[in-house]
């Protein structure tokens, strides 16, 4: 085989040999088949006439949305304030809980790598896997509709996010500073306060602002399940098919999120 190709001069440059070409081809084929198969299962019960009708529906809804109901803005100020409060207070509670969890989860600060670390990691994964909307759904049935459920939904979701990034930051600290503090005869809370905390506090501040920005975005929809904020207005506007109000709400949400993203980017830029 090799001899045969050598005779056919000049050999054309190829990226891969034939075995590896086949392997690539077959894995792409398998991947494509998987996607097509999934698509077929997924669309088993799709009513295609609705899908073909979508452009007409889009034009229809679009024309109903225009012009946005500008006068509605006045009614949105209080829910917007509530939304921002939900995100901010939720982030704060999240930070307060996430910091100890992160210390328990980091390999170099955990009191017991065998028992406590897996529990802390489970808390982080559990909180990260469940979207704040699901937490809100749950909390609304427990503490009743209103912004309080939203605050705790945001907090529960933030623990995992902040905890994960923070424990990674703790694991990457410079151990020599810790050793230096230990060598002076410091107790373990002192080591924590003087050796570890100064190293991670910029990271913590950055992560917190980053999560706050995401939380603003998420808290705008928590009201859809009754957890307070501007989402409740959205829910009632959608239920009454008041499309101009919906459009106004979308503009307001878009503006708030854009501003919070700008603030978060500025602050993180300052911190780093």
């Amino acid at each position: 085989m090799k001899a045969a190709t050598h005779k056919k001069a000049p050999p054309r440059w190829q990226l891969r040999d034939s075995a590896s070409t086949w392997r690539h081809f077959l894995s792409w084929l398998a991947g494509t088949m998987l996607v097509v198969w999934c698509f077929q299962i997924m669309t088993n019960e799709t009513i295609w006439s609705f899908v073909y009708d979508a452009p007409r529906q889009a034009v229809d809804i679009g024309s109903r949305m225009l012009p946005p109901d500008w006068a509605y803005t006045r009614e949105l100020l209080w829910p917007m304030w509530e939304t921002i409060n939900m995100a901010t207070l939720g982030t704060l509670i999240g930070v307060v809980i996430a910091v100890p969890v992160a210390f328990l989860a980091a390999r170099n600060t955990t009191p017991s790598a065998l028992f406590i670390r897996p529990i802390a990691l489970f808390v982080i994964v559990a909180s990260r896997s469940i979207n704040s909307l699901i937490w809100a759904l749950l909390l609304v049935t427990i503490v009743g509709p209103g912004p309080l459920a939203g605050v705790f939904a945001i907090a529960l979701r933030s623990i995992g996010f902040i905890g994960k990034l923070l424990y990674e930051a703790i694991e990457e600290i410079d151990e020599r500073q810790v050793q230096a503090i230990t060598a002076t005869g410091a107790s373990s809370p002192q080591i924590m306060a003087w050796g570890i905390v100064p190293q991670i506090s910029p990271a913590l501040a950055g992560i917190t602002v980053f999560r706050w920005d995401i939380n603003i975005r998420e808290s705008t929809v928590l009201g859809l399940v009754g957890a307070g904020g501007v989402g409740m207005k959205l829910e009632s506007a959608l239920n009454t098919l008041a499309w101009p109000k919906v459009f106004m709400l979308l503009i307001a949400i878009f503006a708030t999120v854009a501003v919070s993203e700008w603030i978060s980017a500025k602050v993180r830029h300052k911190l780093l």
Binding site: G31, L34, V35, C38, F39, I41, M42, T43, E45, T46, I47, F50, V51, A54, Q57, A58, I61, W81, E82, N85, T88, L89, L92, V125, A126, R128, S129, I130, N131, L133, I134, L137, L138, T141, I142, V143, G144, G146, P147, L148, V151, W194, P198, S201, R217, E218, T220, V221, L224, V225, L234, L238, L250, I253, F254, V257, A258, E261
Partner: protein, 267 residues
């Protein structure tokens, strides 16, 4: 001029240097906390009543019920998983041209602005809001969810990929240009080959996010296990709800483990 005295005790340098700004920030935040907590209008009576439900939910977690809503749960997860796979594939494929358009070194001004605007819209609008609009247009079911997640994936992937493409080595691009390669050939051999590891890593990460999101958008009718979960909560069937949540956590856990392995393998 006062006599300068050397401090006898070392003090930690403050996080914020200007003391005026520091105190202004502290008082400001305390005031905000008071006002913010005051705006929550906490209904203690309702919370007391909810306590019993909360306990039932916790006990539901300890004894989750996978069986009585078994077929619904299975159906929901099949929808969620198929939506995840298809939307990630479609989103990643479509994000590549958008990313090329949004990379300053590969695109012209017009395409750059169009693609960046698209990315900004896709990233700012929450998946739930997009899902509501798409459900209104395309009808209930996983197809609307598939479109939602695809839309969100494009914005996410294109932004990060474009950043990566802007940071590639320009010399390779130039070398190919000098050899007379067409634009597509340049993309294939200079750009794509340099961003491939990032592309694979991000796709896997997005697969994970899409699965988590697919469990939520069902709440507004866009298919997936979220609808099942919503029904379970509405009926106060906390044991079934706990079962669904536990399965989601398990799948995310496994996915995270696998994706970590794959990413290490690529590196």
């Amino acid at each position: 001029m006062s006599v300068h005295q050397d401090p006898t005790r070392w003090q930690r340098p403050p996080f914020i240097k200007s003391s005026l700004l520091r105190w202004a920030l502290i008082t400001g935040s305390l005031l905000y906390l008071l006002v913010g907590i005051g705006s929550l209008d906490i209904n203690w009576v309702r919370i007391m009543q909810g306590g019993e439900r909360g306990l039932r939910f916790v006990s539901g977690f300890l004894a989750p019920d996978f069986v009585s809503r078994g077929p619904d749960i299975l159906n929901g997860f099949i929808e969620s998983l198929t939506m995840t796979v298809t939307s990630t594939a479609a989103g990643v494929l479509l994000s590549i041209p958008v990313a090329v358009g949004a990379a300053r070194n590969l695109s012209n001004k017009f395409f750059y602005l169009v693609c960046r605007a698209f990315i900004a819209v896709s990233r700012t609008l929450n998946e739930i809001i997009v899902a509501i609009l798409l459900v209104a247009m395309f009808g209930f079911g996983p197809f609307a969810g598939f479109l939602t997640l695809t839309f969100a994936t494009i914005g996410f992937m294109a932004k990060l990929l474009a950043e990566d493409m802007e940071e590639i080595q320009a010399s390779q691009l130039e070398a190919l240009k000098a050899s007379g390669a067409t634009f597509l050939q340049r993309l294939d051999f200079a750009v794509l080959s340099q961003v491939k590891p990032r592309l694979v890593g991000l796709s896997i990460y997005r697969l994970d996010i899409n699965f988590r999101e697919s469990a939520v958008i069902g709440i507004v009718g866009a298919g997936g296990v979220g609808a099942t979960l919503n029904t379970a909560m509405d009926r106060y069937e906390y044991d079934s709800a706990a079962a669904i949540i536990l399965i989601i956590i398990a799948i995310v856990f496994v996915a995270e483990y696998l994706s970590g392995m794959i990413r290490r393998h690529i590196k």
